[in-house]
């Protein structure tokens, strides 16, 4: 008799604990703020803990409760396949407004344009919530390098060695497009694990140059370990006032201008946050508002500044336009892109 009692008690406890260990069942609510009260929202990060994207979501989560009716944003890292795993997971998540994520928009655009396998989403169908930042890009070399200007690179007799982590990385695509647009002969050396390793390789003299985002490289430049050659993108950074912008170079062919435009568009899409396609309309609006308020919060801005996260907000509608521009390339441009990439792939 006692045994059975124990068993019942035990089973009940199991059920309670198990149910308690996941999200509670939601009830429909007229006012969205009330809906979000006390709820847990998943913030998917398609990369490992500790990376830039991770930092953004964690920073936002600190202010999420304040503006989202008391809900908690929990960072969920889902790394894999260069960001594709997490992105796919966001795409197929329940569109009930309780799952959102941060995306590497330019990386995804690149994956879509180069028809990488593993892309299981339609970039245009995400429910865009807003862009957190745009990446201004720079080209760096070692301070001792003879390639301090684009001109010097163009006139080099030997190919300029650009470094990149891997074929699918943005650094690879950027180097290829820059080389093509500016008429520079390059050798693309891939295989480094991280962009930091590429930096070290430049400093060491193993390779000559690399592209990179302003935010992550500026400190190394300021320390004197690397030198700036050029920038591309539309964001005006005070530290880059004296650095030539590729778009400003005279005598660019229309083909070059097209390629540079593509590069800039990809950089402009930056790091947006989004929800799955067809996310609950009112809750989407609420989340968009929440994001907008967070990026305007002075404390958030201070925190972001300290972590060298440049907040360059773009509202969802404009973001959608930029992304649309990026993915809907004319077929001829798409083929051109494939050609260029194939040219810089190591010989088979």
């Amino acid at each position: 008799m006692l045994k059975n009692l124990f068993l019942c008690f035990f089973v009940v406890t199991v059920l309670l604990l198990t149910l308690g260990g996941r999200e509670t069942v939601q009830s429909a609510s007229p006012k969205e703020a009330e809906f979000y009260k006390g709820k847990v929202v998943d913030g998917i990060v398609p990369y490992k803990t500790g990376g830039g994207y991770d930092n953004w979501v964690r920073a936002i989560s600190l202010f999420f409760g304040k503006y989202a009716g008391g809900a908690t944003l929990v960072t969920k890292n889902m790394p894999g396949a260069g960001g594709l795993v997490g992105t796919n997971r966001l795409y197929t998540a329940d569109p009930n407004g309780l799952t959102i994520g941060i995306l590497n928009a330019s990386g995804l655009m690149q994956a879509v344009l180069t028809e990488t396998s593993g892309v299981k989403f339609d970039l245009l169908k995400f429910t865009w919530l807003g862009r957190l930042t745009s990446d201004q890009k720079i080209i760096c070399v070692s301070p001792k390098s003879k390639f301090k200007t684009i001109e010097a690179m163009k006139q080099s007799t030997k190919p300029v060695k650009f470094g990149a982590p891997g074929l699918g990385s943005s650094m690879f695509l950027e180097a290829a497009l820059v080389a093509q647009a500016m008429g520079i002969r390059i050798d693309l050396i891939t295989g480094y694990e991280t962009s930091e390793e590429v930096d070290l390789a430049i400093i060491r003299g193993e390779i000559d140059a690399a592209t990179g985002s302003f935010a992550s490289k500026i400190d190394t430049v300021k320390n004197g370990d690397m030198a700036l050659v050029a920038q591309f993108g539309n964001v005006k950074e005070a530290d880059l006032a004296k650095t030539p912008n590729l778009g400003d170079f005279p005598g660019l062919s229309s083909d070059s201008k097209q390629l540079l435009d593509l590069l800039v568009a990809m950089g402009e899409s930056g790091r947006p946050m989004a929800g799955p396609p067809g996310m609950h309309p009112e809750r989407s609006k609420f989340l968009q508002e929440t994001l907008k308020k967070i990026v305007q919060d002075p404390e958030f801005l201070q925190l972001a500044k300290k972590q060298q996260m440049d907040v360059i907000y773009l509202p969802p509608e404009e973001l959608f336009k930029i992304i649309g521009k990026g993915v809907s390339l004319s077929p001829s441009l798409k083929n051109r892109l494939k050609e260029i990439l194939a040219k810089y792939q190591p010989k088979k």
Partner: protein, 501 residues
């Protein structure tokens, strides 16, 4: 210079600071003990907590957590044969057999003291070398890394327990496993079978968990009642004191392994997981009791643990000198430093010398505190090995599940872990070395990657360009030739003895 040092000491011996450090150590130990919960994930989770804190406290807190996970990891590795941290997997090789022989107390003491001394070594190097850090970090480029990875794989030659052929087979297979996934050089997807899960390669943690933890669980279920097979013995203070003495007895080994660990920590291109195997291989290579390795030789434990903790000093060196993080944990610590307004680089030495010393002293103190706690807990913890299998088995299985799952919150990892568990068990009973498999698995990717980079950026003569690479090549050849040479010498000595008397 001295004011920075004194300021550092004052900072550290502030009561609040000590409290945070203590808290950090406890968290680090727990994180280390629990498989699957890695230092990196914990740091990331705690980062927001740290935002509002006083900079020096926050940094000390984070460093205390991070630097001491190896003491915790060693505990799980020794007592249960499960890697508490991927970096303490090699500790299982000799630590667990020691536990099975009822010598858990001694093994635990070995690990705690070795970790502590290794950590102090790393911290001292950090302090001493930071002004000249740059040349050191820059000295290790792709050719050097290639040679280092090759040297590591060459250890396969003598790390086998019984059959050398089988060791090489698993070495080769491990290498193939490390190549699974997207090949960055050519864009080819290798051995993925189209499954997206494998695109970035097979994950380390499920493999480690599966290969080492699950076979032990199976053994326990099939064979023994308790982990400690030696009945009737208990853990005495004598064991622990013996363990402490062991480390000092093998002080030269400890210094060598700490050096190896520190260098690996300094090099950003190579993960920290590598240090333990390099140290273990080196220890076996140079030990007079090489046959005992794998059966419960304390040198194996001392080597891996001191290397692990020493590497943290090295990693911090690169992070502080360059602002280039040496590991994923350093990425977070770097992030914390930026939030707190501390810029790594030359500024550390000019403007923030006191912070530097605070970090160094924190590193030393937290290692000491962690090891002391570990030592004090050694007796009660070691008693666990005498606990019944029926209790331990489900608990260990749960920890394995947790360990595999905690990596990327993906349930597939757990299935992978179990699959490797089955493989690991078969490997175990059929004499196929899991160690050589693991070493190749960890290093294989590096070998190929740095070979290709070196070839494409420096041309075919890349090895000759670098003195360090040449030295490593010579060491590798000596290492490979060493074992058979030793055997030949032994044989001829035996023959002479027989003929003599």
């Amino acid at each position: 210079m001295t004011e920075g040092f004194l300021q550092g000491i004052t900072n550290v011996f502030n009561p609040t600071m000590l409290l945070y450090m203590f808290l950090g150590v406890i968290i680090g130990l727990i994180v280390g003990i629990l498989p699957g919960l890695g230092g990196v994930a914990t740091l990331a989770i705690l980062l927001p907590v740290v935002y509002g804190m006083n900079p020096a406290f926050a940094l000390a807190f984070l460093i205390a957590i991070h630097a001491t996970v190896y003491q915790g990891g060693a505990i799980t590795s020794i007592l249960f044969g499960i890697p508490g941290e991927t970096a303490t997997t090699a500790t299982i090789l000799d630590g667990y057999p020691m536990a099975q022989q009822g010598k858990a107390g001694r093994a635990l003491a070995n690990s705690q003291v070795a970790s502590m001394l290794g950590g102090i070594f790393g911290a001292v190097i950090l302090a001493a070398f930071i002004p000249i850090a740059k040349p050191i970090v820059l000295a290790f480029g792709s050719p050097e890394l290639f040679m280092m990875a090759v040297m590591g794989i060459s250890f396969v030659a003598f790390l086998s327990q019984r059959s050398t052929i089988k060791a090489f087979i698993t070495g080769a297979l491990g290498l193939i496993l490390s190549l699974v996934g997207f090949h960055h050089g050519t864009g080819a997807l290798r051995y993925t079978g189209g499954i997206i899960y494998f695109y970035e390669g097979v994950k380390m943690v499920p493999v480690f968990m599966g290969l080492f933890a699950i076979p032990e669980v199976i053994e326990m279920a099939v064979g023994g009642e308790t982990i400690a097979k030696v009945a009737g013995s208990d853990v005495r203070w004598g064991d622990i004191i013996q363990g402490i003495k062991d480390v000092f007895h093998h002080w030269w080994l400890m210094i060598r392994c700490s050096t190896i660990g520190t260098i690996i920590g300094i090099i950003p291109g190579v993960g920290g997981v590598v240090a333990q195997f390099m140290c273990y291989g080196h220890a076996k290579q140079t030990s007079k009791r090489a046959e005992e390795f794998g059966k419960g030789c304390e040198e194996g434990v001392i080597a891996t643990q001191s290397g692990d903790n020493a590497k943290e000093g090295g990693a911090l060196l690169t992070t502080l000198a360059f602002g280039i993080p040496g590991s994923s944990a350093m990425v977070i610590i770097l992030g914390a430093m930026m939030v707190l307004g501390i810029k790594p680089g030359p500024e550390m030495i000019t403007k923030h010398l006191d912070i530097l010393w605070t970090l160094v002293i924190t590193l030393i103190m937290s290692n000491v505190i962690a090891s002391l706690i570990g030592l004090m807990a050694a007796r009660p913890l070691a008693r666990l090995t005498f606990a019944k299998g029926t209790i331990l088995i489900p608990v260990i299985l749960l920890l394995v599940i947790l360990g595999a799952y905690g990596v990327s919150n993906d349930i597939t990892d757990v299935f992978m872990a179990f699959a490797f568990g089955a493989l690991g068990y078969l490997m175990k009973i059929y004499d196929y070395s899991r160690v050589t498999f693991t070493i190749s698995f960890v290093l294989g990717d590096y070998v190929e990657r740095y070979f290709l980079i070196s070839l494409t950026s420096l041309g075919p003569g890349f090895l000759l360009v670098s003195p360090i690479a040449v030295i490593l090549l010579i060491l590798t050849i000596l290492g490979l030739a060493g074992a058979p040479l030793k055997r030949l010498l032994k044989k001829s000595r035996n023959r002479r003895q027989k003929q003599g008397v």
